[in-house]
Symmetry: C2
Subunit: 443 residues, 2 copies
């Protein structure tokens, strides 16, 4: 819908007719908001909807057809086969330009019992509504979250807030694998602190059911009672439709586009969770499902599709999350990713306050920098702290984006006043320590 | 003391003897914390002291002599004349290397009555103690703050918190002249909101006294009752001692140094509020008195003085402040400064939320970008908002530091999660609007 809106801004209805097909009932909503709806921070699920199909039709002259699923693309004919899910009818619809925004599909484990009632994914808004309905009706007492990524952790917290006894299972030795283990351990501590039982380093192997409903999760180590189960196992690009049509798919499973979001097929564009993009630090293709990338790519695709010029050069892997009182942020490559990309790297971790030490409400935070040996170039950063910690990642992401070295970063002119920062900003302290470390290594 | 500590880290006592002379009684304290001590947020003034002279002596082997004033520098002899203020004795002390860190002197108006009791500057820690003592003893009911810069506004708020009736006088038509008028007006509104009476566009012309104590401030328009007066008229580099010795002084009145903080005199270094530095956007010399610059410059001077290598390339003019509930931030050039530096610029202002619109505790903020016409290069930015607004200036300062254009900024990979940002971060929204504006201008 971002692409459609941008194209419409450039070309009016006389010059461009826009049809949009959506399998579900909603357009333009915040899937990231689902945990806050489940946890009760957001009372009305409608608050998560940015623009309804009606608004697109009325204000943007975009013919949005919900409950319509595109089942086939014919590139040669320039047409898509569309199934009207309400009427169970199908027809071919022709196009001059095609925009593919099929998003992601959640990883669902192929395990015994995984289609039982009470087992929920968290991907589309309807999933959020289904979970809420299930909590209200089935009144579950225990919940198991399978998967310790962002959405898994946010859902674990939300279920604690909703009054459930929550366990979390993850095959890795720490939650949030996008962080290094030392930083991930701080997140684990925060989860334990609000009462989430963590079962790390063990795999979910199946679900026990009774009367068609889940009653327990079987892991490699134990059986965990579960009145409700949340699957937070990540997603992969939903690129099957494009692939079947012969649109080029990359090594990540995402649709390949150029920086203007053009696929390799003439007149076909793609954006969002279904595409792969470039990681600007590793140089490798990546598929990162995040609303912020999807929105930007959609805007770029729409501008170009409408005859303008805009580019999406790639990502640096920035992500933030709040787990209980703990704010978590990361950008760039972590140590494992840096090694995989062939970088010889070193790391420093500094502990600091978020405000001047004497200022009321100051809390502590840890900042980690990963830098390339010899060049001192910043490769990645991670922050774990309390209030006012996580969004500081933006400065690090922009430094990374511009290829700064840790030594250059020691001179950065960052905002200082007691309510906002110690006189040496945490970023500066970390950059100093990394510079000193590099100097010791060199000499 | 930053310079002394850094030099000591590189050269031990056998290789470098370090003497430090300080006219006052304290070293290494947060002058920026004074308003929070006056307003009651910080109960104990000792909390503002980072390291006492004793700590420097004991842990760093630095011979700190407080209440010792250097009254003359003899570059030819390599010696300074030092006055022991306690014993009223003088002697010459020779040096191999000299570090000048004489700070700033407050601008004091040469107005009738300006030496009356109850009129205070806010520069050194002793000023803060004197104000607090005066409030406790004289129990003033009304206060007038002269000067609407950062310290003036922070002191106005502090005095309101301390229970006084506060007026603020400034010759400019808006407080906080480092912001553009449209953004400054929002700050004026916040001050009025907590009951500060603003008298803008009028000059303080004198003080009325009774029994040696101030009782009123006479402005160009009226007489304002004042049991206590705070002068917040800014500072200028305290470079007289250096100038008298023949050390080169720049057009701003600050000592001229290179990027390693070496003055033009052999073996003489300088850092802090007494030097001038380069504004990396305008390219012009500037003297900006800020603890964060002073600390960085001191560190750089000390590393170089100790035989290492470090540089301070300049500043981009970043500043943040909190006035009541309003957070204020700026970086780079404002519209007036951009014009003065010869830039043809344009501006955009966007209003956004600080978090996802549906997330509890979201507030609104305004972000202004100033960019060069044609190139689209970012020249400056200003933010006025509530909680979680101001520190976002860091990202803009780093973008500015790296010479990014507003179009490049639209692609930045900034942290997104509902507790921290709308899906389009305010910086991205502003960059988009500026890019669209530039496109319209071009075509």
């Amino acid at each position: 819908m971002s692409a459609a809106s941008q194209a419409r801004r450039r070309l009016d209805g006389d010059r461009l007719e826009i049809l949009a097909f959506e399998r579900g009932t909603a357009t333009s909503y915040s899937a990231c908001g689902i945990p806050y709806y489940i946890g009760g921070d957001v009372g009305d699920p409608d608050a998560l909807i940015t623009r309804t199909p009606e608004v697109f039709r009325r204000d943007h002259d975009i013919d949005v057809r919900t409950r319509h699923e595109v089942t086939e693309i014919d590139l040669d004919r320039g047409a898509v086969r569309v199934r009207d899910l309400e009427r169970a009818a199908e027809r071919w619809e022709s196009y001059d330009r095609l925009m593919i925004a099929t998003g992601a599909v959640p990883t669902r484990p192929d395990l015994p019992g995984s289609d039982a009632e009470g087992i929920h994914g968290v991907q589309v808004l309807d999933d959020g509504l289904a979970i809420r309905r299930d909590l209200d009706r089935a009144k579950p007492r225990t919940a198991v979250v399978v998967g310790g990524g962002y959405i898994g952790l946010e859902m674990a917290e939300a279920l604690v807030k909703a009054g459930l006894e929550v366990s979390l299972v993850d095959g890795a030795p720490q939650p949030m694998r996008t962080l290094d283990p030392d930083m991930g351990e701080l997140v684990a501590g925060a989860l334990r602190g609000v009462g989430v039982a963590l079962y790390l380093g063990e795999q979910a192997e199946g679900f026990e059911t009774s009367g068609g409903r889940v009653i327990a999760v079987r892991t490699s180590e134990r059986v965990l009672p579960a009145d409700v189960v949340i699957l937070g196992l990540g997603v992969r690009p939903n690129s099957g439709l494009a692939e079947a049509a012969g649109v080029e798919i990359g090594s990540t499973g995402g649709i390949v586009t150029d920086r203007r979001m053009r696929t390799r097929a003439e007149g076909v564009w793609a954006a969002g969770d279904c595409v792969q993009t470039r990681h600007l630090v590793s140089g490798e293709p990546v598929a990162i499902a995040l609303g912020t990338h999807a929105n930007k790519q959609g805007r770029v695709a729409g501008i170009n599709l409408g005859g303008g010029y805009a580019t999406f050069p790639g990502v640096v892997g920035t992500a933030v999350s709040k787990i209980c009182k703990v704010e978590v942020a990361r950008t760039g490559l972590n140590e494992r990713e840096a090694a995989a990309a062939g970088f010889d790297s070193f790391s420093v971790v500094v502990e600091s306050t978020t405000r001047a030490g004497y200022y009321p409400g100051t809390t502590s935070m840890k900042t980690k920098l990963i830098a390339e040996r010899r060049s001192g170039r910043l490769l990645g950063a991670q922050i774990v702290g309390e209030e006012n910690a996580a969004k500081r990642i933006d400065g690090l992401a922009i430094a990374l984006w511009n290829g700064m070295t840790v030594e250059q970063m020691t001179a950065l002119d960052l905002g200082y006043a007691p309510p906002f920062s110690p006189v040496w900003d945490p970023i500066l302290i970390a950059a100093r320590k990394a510079t000193e470390q590099a100097e010791r290594d060199a000499g």
